[in-house]
């Protein structure tokens, strides 16, 4: 406690380390080594974010869980514009950038669509899409880019069908989504991409109002808009969040997960050679922990002075959660190893607190289907280029690979 005030000296950020830091080219699956240093040394460390803001980097597992569960931290982008990567005009706030009770009110209009039961009912459909894209990739011949042929189209099609977004428009929404996910995108370009995506979804909402189908957008209109719970703009914004989050994340877990399995053949064999869904489910949890692709998105602002360990975080200061670092903390034994014998449940790859990933059950089903099917159908699957030539997504909010050239 005696050091608490020493940690909040005024600082213009020029001396501060950059967050998230640079990953080691030799260990592309590991968080930036500098974060392990912060985690061991001090827990909370002042850093400069990519957008220039100063924040406290939270890198320990216990601190991340405690802080993301603390209602004194705000995610409200209206109250704290520094939380917004894109300054949006004419669009309502997205629920991940709201606090309770309004956040919870909006979130609960969507949670019924993502229950364990609902996504389990989707499993046969996910499985048939997995097989379809697998056979199409094989028919086109080795080598292939696994991202374009397999990892991206599966979750993209699943989320399109769930929402009621025509998959024929996938090039349109995938490119806008990528623009918003790229860290260095200039503000003007961000606003354009966000405006185009929002306008597209608002048009779709109005079309679905005239001709409702069996999909999430139609249900939100017939069940929530008519009751006055949501506006058309709210439905378009919720759809944008789900569309955006629903394919980028899972796509990168499928591609990076495949690469991690190719680099760890003994672990890969465990998934390939089992018919026990529990073994597969456990392996997917460990891959989620080990890879933790949400590398740079979880920012909050303290709404009052908060003491964390030896540090005083003052009202109005920003915090950023290093989820990849937290999932390599000592609470997991030999945390830097990919180990399917481990019980990895309790990881924070989906975040923690009231904003924890809405679509996590769907992501689990997609990963549990896509990864084993690939290993079983193509037992000779291998990387088609040296590992050093793989382009990792250092420049994106969600980590992964831009392409994954594979052969079989």
């Amino acid at each position: 406690m005696s050091t608490a005030t020493d940690q909040t000296q005024p600082n213009d950020g020029t001396e501060l380390p950059d967050f998230p830091g640079t990953r080691s080219p030799r260990c592309p699956f590991d968080p930036p080594p500098v974060q392990a240093g912060w985690r061991r040394a001090d827990g909370l460390t002042q850093v400069r974010l990519g957008n220039g803001h100063i924040a406290w980097a939270v890198t320990r597992y216990d601190d991340v869980k405690q802080l993301l569960g603390d209602p004194r931290l705000s995610a409200d982008g209206h109250r704290y514009p520094q939380l917004m990567e894109t300054q949006r005009h004419g669009q309502p706030q997205a629920f991940p950038r709201m606090d309770d009770p309004e956040h919870s009110r909006i979130r609960r209009t969507l949670t019924g669509e993502f229950t364990v039961k609902r996504v389990e009912a989707m499993r046969p459909h996910v499985r048939s899409l997995v097989n379809r894209f697998l056979e199409e990739m094989i028919a086109a011949g080795s080598p292939a880019d696994l991202v374009r042929a397999y990892a991206l189209p599966i979750p993209s099609l699943v989320i399109s069908l769930l929402l009621g977004v025509p998959y024929d428009d996938h090039t349109f929404f995938q490119t806008r989504s990528a623009t918003l996910m790229r860290k260095g995108t200039p503000q003007e370009e961000r606003q354009a991409a966000s405006g185009e995506l929002f306008g597209y979804l608002l048009d779709l909402v109005k079309r679905k109002e005239r001709e409702p189908g069996d999909d999430l957008i139609s249900r939100l209109i017939t069940e929530r808009v008519v009751t006055g719970e949501l506006t058309h703009h709210d439905v378009a914004m919720n759809s944008m969040v789900i569309l955006h989050a629903g394919h980028e994340t899972t796509a990168n877990m499928i591609a990076l997960g495949t690469l991690a399995l190719l680099e760890n053949p003994r672990q890969a064999a465990r998934i390939r050679d089992t018919d026990d869904p529990k073994v597969v489910a456990g392996a997917v949890e460990e891959l989620l922990r080990y890879l933790t692709i949400a590398q740079d998105m979880l920012v909050r602002v303290a709404t009052e002075d908060i003491i964390v360990g030896d540090h005083l975080v003052r009202e109005g200061e920003m915090l950023v959660s290093g989820l990849p670092s937290a999932n390599r903390d000592v609470v997991f034994e030999t945390a830097d190893a990919l180990d399917f014998d481990r019980d990895a449940r309790g990881h924070v790859a989906f975040g923690h607190g009231v904003h924890q990933c809405l679509g996590q059950s769907l992501a689990r089903v997609e990963l549990q289907e896509a990864l084993p099917a690939l290993l079983r159908r193509l037992p000779d699957l291998r990387l088609a280029v040296p590992l050093e030539e793989v382009r990792f997504r250092h420049d994106m909010v969600v980590y992964g690979v831009h392409e994954l050239p594979v052969a079989w």
Partner: protein, 65 residues
Amino acid sequence: MRVELDEPKCVAAGQCVVVAPEVFDQRDEDGVAVVLEEHPAAELLDSVREAVAVCPAAAIRLAEL
């Protein structure tokens, strides 16, 4: 031991259903957790404790009777 759910706190992440499906389910309309077994058998208590630990909203408690 009694399972207590603070329903307004639940964020419908579904983690409790994954780790302790014998004890928890989710409401169809909004995914909010439902306790199926308020007094779970001894062999289920470990999974209930895990549900308490992984609940993102700290909405579950296992109370001593």
